[in-house]
């Protein structure tokens, strides 16, 4: 089976225990305002164009019908006209272009993941499947996780929780750990912030809890979007109800590292203030009242 992915990143140490290899899948049904991996949204490959690296040398105009230069010297890249031939990634001397996303078989992906098996053994690490949303390619993901398990590699699934119940249950049966995003509790706000209602997500979480799955809650915290006093109180209570069934909850403070990637894939940039240490501490203090262990990402 094939998977559409955009990166296999080695030596990940923030996405589960030990040293891990993270397979970043392509395709996500959500549309979170603050997305920091926007190149993961579309399932199909796409060109990432880093404007700040472009010197407008014009070399790409020879072979690319999607590009033109305006009167005031700006290079215009028209995504609609792009044929995804990839020549720009080979021929741009400034490396302003990269082709993001490819399809490969689960066997080949696993072969790449397996290269770091000696490190998983010495560190207690393994494979993390991230996204995008793994549930978008459910069958192939289940196959990949099963094959990894046969090689003695444990999996962590980073998920928005938005997907079919069976997908999560199958992965749980394969012993996977879930890094499960909770992006807000209020239904209408969740819809505005992420494009979907949270009902499916919360039901999937509770179904996994009922089965005794290994769960870490991940809490993307975005100043001004999901951190009002009401939001926090709802979140605290939501965690409190489930505190005995999760390993811990991890605050993911908003950071702006995804900004250039948003521009590069032609997506509007969401630009709130980044959440500094003081924010994270305030949230941690508040949410600790839930009785669950609250961590902050990167500490």
């Amino acid at each position: 089976m094939e998977l559409s992915y955009f990166n296999i990143q080695k030596f990940c140490i923030h996405d589960g225990p030990g040293i891990r290899t993270t397979v970043f899948l392509k395709g996500c049904p959500l549309d979170c305002l603050w997305c920091h991996n926007p190149e993961s949204k579309r399932t199909e490959p796409e060109i990432m164009f880093y404007r700040h690296k472009c010197s407008v040398c014009g070399r790409c105009l020879d072979f690319c019908s999607a590009r033109s230069v305006t009167a005031d010297g700006q290079l215009i890249y028209d995504r609609e006209k792009c044929l995804l031939c990839g020549k720009c990634t080979e021929r741009c001397y400034n490396t302003a272009n990269s082709l993001c996303g490819k399809k490969d078989t689960t066997e080949n992906i696993l072969a790449e993941v397996k290269k770091d098996l000696p490190f998983y053994k010495t560190s207690g690490g393994g494979m993390t499947v991230s996204g995008g949303e793994p549930a978008m390619q459910s069958k192939a993901v289940i196959e990949l996780v099963r094959m990894a398990k046969e090689e003695g590699i444990e999996s962590v699934i980073e998920t928005s929780g938005f997907g079919e119940r069976d997908f999560f249950m199958s992965l749980h049966e394969l012993g996977a750990t879930f890094f499960f995003d909770i992006k807000g509790i209020d239904r209408e706000k969740h819809k505005i912030n992420t494009g979907v209602y949270p009902d499916v997500i919360h039901k999937n979480l509770d179904a996994l809890i009922a089965e005794g799955a290994k769960i870490v809650l991940r809490l993307p915290m975005i100043p001004g979007k999901n951190d009002s006093d009401v939001d926090l109180a709802l979140l605290r209570d939501f965690i409190a109800e489930r505190k005995d069934h999760i390993e811990y909850a991890e605050i993911m403070p908003y950071h702006e590292m995804g900004r250039d990637k948003n521009t590069a894939v032609g997506r509007e940039v969401y630009d709130p203030i980044p959440a500094g240490k003081q924010f994270a501490e305030k949230w941690r203090e508040f949410l600790s009242d839930s009785g669950a262990e609250i961590r902050v990402s990167g500490e």
Partner: protein, 721 residues
């Protein structure tokens, strides 16, 4: 006898007025007169004794040291001019004989600077502590026994004996000076230090030291005399000092450890080794090992370079202490793996018990303390030059001179295999030259620049009646370092892929592009430079080439005998000359332009080319055999400061280390990515494509971020410090 008018230059006077033609004996006589007359220092703060820098001439660990010509002195003191002329005429030839690489035969190659050999007289790890353990009286007895067993070598033994007597003379002088200073010293602390010196030299160096303070005082005296002006490496300090350490009070021994650490730092001592396994793989870590790690971490000095030896039975506590030190960002210690080094030394024929006694000197050279002369850094070469020689059929791209072999017109090669076969011929040709120069140099050094003190402190010399540089030590192997390894491998990979497999470019085009420094071949340059075929990314295609080349270099070196009675052995470590290798190269198919000086760090990737993180780099580096090279074989791992600030930092580091060493990786150094490097990455992004921004669930490289975001990351790095 020449009748000197000058009162200075005691070494020269002793040397020249020694009525012998034996150079070892003459040198011993020079040392003895110098010991009687040279300036000495009794340091009441540190409680240690050493020497004033000799004005012009002395014999130190390197042989005769020649500091400056006498022109000025001759002008100022015309009545003494004849003396200086006499010294120049009679000693200078010995000293200047040491540059055989300047000979017509070799200078074409050394001028090109893609190799050098032999100009360095050499590091070693003599067992200075022999004097602390046994005393000079016992050592002199040994000299006499060996003299009796080796008839006809009296003059050699006379020279050795005079070197030992120099220490005795100095001991008497140190005691006198300390007593004299006590007369006027009022500070209690300094008085105690001076008294200890006086007490020590009441019976030392003739007789063994009784505690750690005495051992430190005597060790300093021997070590400083051996390395006068150019201190060498103390060696395995926690082994040879432990018997003294364990019988001394905590407060006193810590005080003297502090003193000698300051002394090592002031004299820029090279390399100090701790821990490691014995011949039964038992761990030897002791509380002195931990005290040394602690003092290195607290003082944060860059010298001495601290080496820790690990193995299958190393305690977790030691690995924890190593981590604590590295987390400060000081870059110390370097970590060696007995599991790779010991087998490498055994391959050279060194018995297991001695192989387990290895220690480090210089930057990263390996010796057997008190038993060998092999870690002296015989030479090094730039492997990528062989690519030039193949493509230009024996001609250097840089100078246009014909320095390589005629391996045939490369446009006639039908396959990559033919190209590779020619490359191997050129590589062996380069190795033949570098080892030939090294051997010529060693012979000249042995004939002109003996070290009688080292002949006493290294086993085998007295027993055989042979000087330290003349095959005396038990093991006389050599060490040749390879440079620009990753550039060589990347070049071969690009040639294989783009010329022979894809036929994207022809060999004629490649030759022309290399001649023109890629001018007019921008597209080819871009393809080569940004090719995914770069060593250090766990890429089978590239790594299989790396394996063949590196193993071949190391195996081939071991077939070439050294002048000193061993064979050569390979290594790969950063050295001051390494950046210069970049200057010796023309444009290369790895995408390197002529003016680019940045070349690979040791066995690692070309800077910026290992874009898949440390696990991929480690896997690539394990593609070749680390039990072949008997010299330092270094992997430098670079970490974001952040990793040391997270709870997972220590377990991550330990896991990387155990995985690398468990698979017989030889050596690791750790560098913490500095804000300066990130600032440089803003200016020269192509050299820093390996910097990955690691945030949970996020994926990107530093150089893809725009200026403002990069600034934020830099601020974060600073914050971590």
């Amino acid at each position: 006898m020449y009748n000197f008018k000058i009162k200075t230059e005691p070494f020269a006077r002793g040397f020249l007025n020694c009525e012998s033609t034996n150079i070892t004996k003459k040198t011993g006589a020079g040392m003895l007169l110098a010991a009687k007359e040279m300036g000495i220092i009794v340091d009441a703060e540190l409680g240690l004794c050493y020497y004033e820098s000799p004005e012009h001439l002395f014999c130190n660990s390197l042989g005769i040291r020649w500091n400056s010509p006498y022109d000025e002195l001759k002008e100022q003191n015309p009545e003494e001019a004849a003396d200086y002329t006499y010294i120049e005429d009679n000693i200078r030839p010995y000293y200047f004989a040491q540059y055989p690489h300047n000979s017509a035969e070799h200078s074409a190659h050394t001028d090109e600077r893609y190799l050098w050999a032999g100009s360095w007289k050499g590091h070693a790890n003599p067992d200075h502590a022999d004097v602390c353990r046994y005393g000079t009286a016992a050592i002199k007895e040994k000299i006499e026994i060996c003299r009796a067993n080796n008839p006809g070598k009296d003059e050699f033994y006379d020279g050795c004996r005079m070197a030992v007597e120099s220490l005795e003379v100095l001991g008497v002088r140190f005691r006198e000076k300390a007593l004299e200073m006590l007369g006027s010293e009022t500070d209690e602390g300094r008085r105690a230090k001076l008294q200890k010196i006086a007490d020590t030299f009441e019976h030392a160096p003739e007789y063994p030291c009784r505690d750690f303070a005495e051992a430190v005082i005597v060790f300093t005296m021997v070590f400083a005399l051996d390395g006068l002006d150019e201190a060498d490496s103390p060696g395995h300090f926690d082994w040879f000092m432990y018997d003294f350490w364990k019988v001394t009070d905590e407060e006193v021994r810590l005080d003297y450890l502090d003193s000698i650490w300051e002394f090592f730092h002031n004299t820029r001592s090279w390399n100090l080794t701790i821990s490691g396994s014995d011949e039964n793989w038992n761990d030897t870590t002791n509380d002195l090992s931990y005290a040394i790690l602690d003092i290195a971490r607290r003082k944060k000095y860059h010298t001495p370079n601290l080496t820790v030896r690990l193995h299958r039975n190393s305690p977790d506590k030691l690995i924890h202490a190593i981590y604590e030190s590295l987390a400060t960002g000081c870059g110390l210690p370097g970590i060696y793996n007995d599991e790779a080094v010991v087998p490498a030394l055994e391959r050279l024929g060194i018995p297991s018990d001695d192989a387990h006694r290895y220690t480090m000197n210089g930057c990263n050279q390996i010796d057997i303390q008190g038993k060998s002369h092999m870690g002296l850094e015989d030479g090094q070469f730039t492997a990528a030059k062989a690519i030039e020689y193949v493509v230009h059929n024996g001609f250097s791209n840089k100078s246009g001179r014909e320095l390589g072999l005629k391996t045939g017109d490369p446009t006639e090669f039908k396959s990559y295999e033919e190209f590779y076969a020619a490359f191997i011929k050129q590589l062996e040709h380069i190795i033949n030259i570098v080892t030939a120069i090294a051997n010529t140099a060693q012979k000249v050094h042995a004939e002109n620049l003996p070290c009688p003190l080292r002949s006493v402190l290294i086993d085998g010399c007295l027993e055989k009646g042979r000087e330290y540089k003349n095959g005396g030590p038990l093991y006389g192997h050599g060490q040749i370092l390879v440079n620009a390894f990753a550039e060589t491998v990347d070049s071969l990979a690009n040639v294989k892929k783009y010329i022979y497999e894809d036929k994207r470019y022809t060999m004629a085009e490649l030759a022309d592009a290399m001649n023109k420094n890629f001018e007019g071949y921008e597209e080819m340059h871009h393809t080569f430079k940004h090719s995914p075929l770069k060593f250090g990314n766990d890429n089978e295609y590239v790594d299989s080439i790396a394996k063949d080349v590196m193993n071949h270099i190391n195996e081939y070196l071991m077939t070439i005998p050294t002048y000193r009675g061993g064979v050569f052995s390979g290594g790969c470590s950063p050295f001051t000359a390494a950046p210069k290798c970049g200057e010796s190269l023309g444009a290369l198919p790895c995408g390197l332009k002529k003016e680019e000086k940045l070349i690979a760090d040791s066995i690692g990737a070309t800077p910026g080319c290992d874009t898949h993180g440390p696990t991929a780099l480690i896997n690539s580096c394990l593609s070749f055999d680390h039990t072949l090279p008997g010299s330092g074989f270094i992997l430098n791992l670079k970490f974001d400061k952040e990793i040391f600030n997270t709870a997972a930092g220590e377990s991550t580091f330990t896991a990387l280390l155990k995985s690398y060493f468990g698979r017989k990786g030889q050596m690791i150094t750790v560098t913490v990515v500095s804000p300066e490097e990130l600032l440089d990455a803003q200016k020269n992004p192509d050299n820093h494509r390996d910097l990955i921004v690691r945030v949970g669930g996020y994926s990107d490289v530093f150089v893809n971020l725009d200026k403002r975001l990069q600034d934020n990351v830099i601020a974060r790095t600073l914050y971590g410090v």
